[in-house]
């Protein structure tokens, strides 16, 4: 039971880390590759 809990915790941690990494990659992709960012020129 304890080892199951430990591996479950490891799994959850790994999933969270993957998720965070994924969001970083998604941000990088959208910024550098997809270039779907809205660019404006202010009046100044």
């Amino acid at each position: 039971m304890i080892s199951y809990m430990q591996s479950f915790t490891k799994f959850v941690n790994a999933t969270l880390m993957m998720f965070i990494m994924f969001s970083v990659f998604a941000t990088a992709y959208q910024t550098f590759v997809a270039e779907d960012f809205q660019i404006i020129f202010s009046e100044e």
Binding site: T27, A28, T31, E35, I40
Partner: protein, 556 residues
């Protein structure tokens, strides 16, 4: 069309050191922070990679470097993509920095892992930040003319709230420290330094960022990482003399040299007064830090010198004590010899008198002469013990090895002592259970003396009951054992530890009013050890009897 570079940027050199774009403070504050943090975390990991504190500290250092790097990029870099990316990463790197700082502090202060519930309570609120990172809720659009991201404020606000949430938890750690009396003064001072400095550093991070946000003067934000230097400095101060990090002189020297070089070089790069003032100020601060560091190192060296001086004195004292001990043994040896010769004649004449060699003795004189004979016998035994001790201690004890049958010899000893046992109303039983012939290679006289001594003790200290002498062996281990088990006064746990020492007798030994010098067991054990054996004692407590086991190597 999307421009490749920010409009106000100089695209030729990527602007990394163009003072016209960003405040000069940036170059000064950010590069040393990154370098020092990397050096410190690298050292912490290198010295103690398995330690939980080291790992958390490395995580903290990693997120600090990431955060400082992205802030650096947003200020300095010219390519629009890069600036935009750095701008978007801000919420994630800041919140990760806060979280890892909390984890490190918790682990450092309480020296244990966070429990699962608390861990997830801190970690899970971070997820929305990661989730919203690539969305419009982070940066709505990007203003190229100012080279700034424009947000609608949702994620920024959430990040601030998360940061405050973590700060409150750090305050909770601080409160818990005050309620923990077990901390030593030195450790608690260190805990305080680290908790307060990290709290102030993190606080200055969000306060400066928030002021930048609401006023639009993002230059305020550049002050944050400078305060982080304070945190790093306090970390290094702790690292130099705290066992947890195991960083020694090398780390602190490297740090001081790195700081002085980096900051000192700024003075010579450009003659901007602004930079010079700050650099001079920091140089001053770092000089103080360096002084503190070297002082702690000097103290350590002084301690070491003191200890080595003490060790030298101790060695001298020890040599002197050894000489005194040798002299004492020699004295006892000489004195005992001098005592023994007249005693021999006293004993001799007393027994001659008793045997009637000088004619009939009046009945009145018989008892005193018997007493003289008995007392002189006891005295001769005591002198023999003292002589043995002095021989053992001076290393002059001679052992004549020969093969003999231990079982037969033990049986003879029992036969000899049975008379004494019967006189006291005791039963002396001899048993043997041997898988070998029971031959050993040892000094026969000394072995007999040991068994005699142990059996005699058993008879002396037993008022009623039996004394069993049991010879057994273990062919696999090549050992032979003689157990002497009695139903006598026994002894307690403390006595078991001390009875084999010189002049020690069990505390209840006097209760049976028996003469003894407290040297018999000491001599026996030393002699058994010299012959490759040992003696062990066992007893369940006072009045529970005792068992002595002589253990000798079997000659197969």
């Amino acid at each position: 069309m999307r421009p490749e570079f920010c409009i106000d940027a100089n695209p030729i050199f990527y602007n990394l050191f163009d003072f016209s774009i960003a405040p000069p403070l940036l170059y000064y504050a950010y590069i040393p922070t990154i370098v020092i943090t990397l050096i410190l975390s690298g050292l912490a990991l290198y010295h103690n990679s398995l330690n939980r504190n080291s790992r958390y500290f490395s995580a903290l250092a990693f997120f600090l470097v990431m955060h400082v790097f992205f802030v650096f990029v947003t200020w300095i870099a010219a390519p629009v993509d890069l600036v935009m990316f750095g701008w978007q990463m801000w919420p994630l790197t800041l919140s990760s920095l806060f979280l890892s700082t909390h984890f490190f502090l918790y682990s450092f202060v309480f020296d244990k892992k966070l429990n699962k519930l608390y861990y997830y309570l801190l970690l899970l609120p971070l997820l929305p930040i990661a989730f919203l990172l690539p969305t419009k809720l982070n940066i709505s659009y990007f203003d190229v003319s100012l080279c700034e991201g424009v947000s609608n404020g949702f994620l920024t606000t959430y990040t601030y709230l998360y940061a405050i949430y973590i700060l409150l938890n750090i305050i909770y750690i601080g409160v818990a420290v005050t309620r923990k009396p077990s901390l030593t003064t030195l450790r608690s001072r260190k805990v305080w330094i680290i908790v307060i400095s990290s709290f102030l550093a993190l606080l200055s991070f969000i306060v400066t960022a928030y002021i930048g946000d609401i006023t639009g003067y993002y230059e305020f934000e550049t002050v944050g990482p400078i305060s982080m230097l304070m945190f790093i400095a306090s970390m290094s101060y702790i690292a130099t003399d705290h066992k947890k990090f195991n960083l020694k002189l090398l780390g602190s020297e490297l740090l001081v040299i790195g700081l002085v070089t980096l900051v000192g070089s700024i003075i010579f790069i450009r003659s901007i007064n602004y930079v010079q003032y700050i650099a001079t100020g920091t140089l001053f601060a770092i000089t103080i830090l360096g002084w503190l560091l070297s002082r702690s190192v000097r103290q350590e060296i002084e301690h070491r010198n003191k200890i080595s001086h003490l060790a030298l004195n101790l060695e001298k004292a020890n040599t002197r004590l050894e000489a005194l001990d040798r002299q004492k043994s020699e004295f006892i040896s000489i004195a005992s010899h001098q005592l023994r010769s007249p005693l021999t004649s006293i004993r001799g004449y007393a027994s001659l008198l008793l045997e009637g060699s000088y004619g009939d003795i009046p009945k009145k004189a018989l008892i005193p002469i018997e007493r003289i004979e008995k007392s002189s016998k006891l005295m001769a035994l005591a002198i023999e013990d003292y002589l043995n001790v002095s021989r053992i201690e001076s290393g002059n004890m001679q052992y004549n090895y020969s093969d003999f049958n231990l079982k037969t010899e033990t049986e003879h000893i029992c036969d000899d002592l049975r008379h004494d046992a019967i006189k006291k109303g005791l039963v002396l039983i001899f048993r043997s259970e041997l898988n070998s012939r029971g031959i050993i290679n040892a000094d026969i006289g000394k072995t007999i003396q040991i068994i005699q001594n142990l059996t005699h003790n058993a008879i002396k200290y037993t008022k009623t009951g039996t004394v069993k002498v049991f010879v057994r062996d273990d062919i696999n281990k090549k050992r032979i054992y003689v157990d002497i088990i009695d139903t006598g006064i026994g002894m307690n746990r403390e006595a078991l530890h001390t009875i084999f020492q010189k002049f020690e007798r069990a505390s209840n030994a006097n209760s049976v009013n028996i003469h003894g010098t407290g040297l018999g067991l000491y001599v026996s054990l030393r002699m058994a050890e010299a012959m490759g054996g040992t003696i062990t004692a066992h007893s369940e407590g006072d009045n529970a009897g005792s068992r002595f086991t002589l253990d000798l190597p079997l000659a197969l």
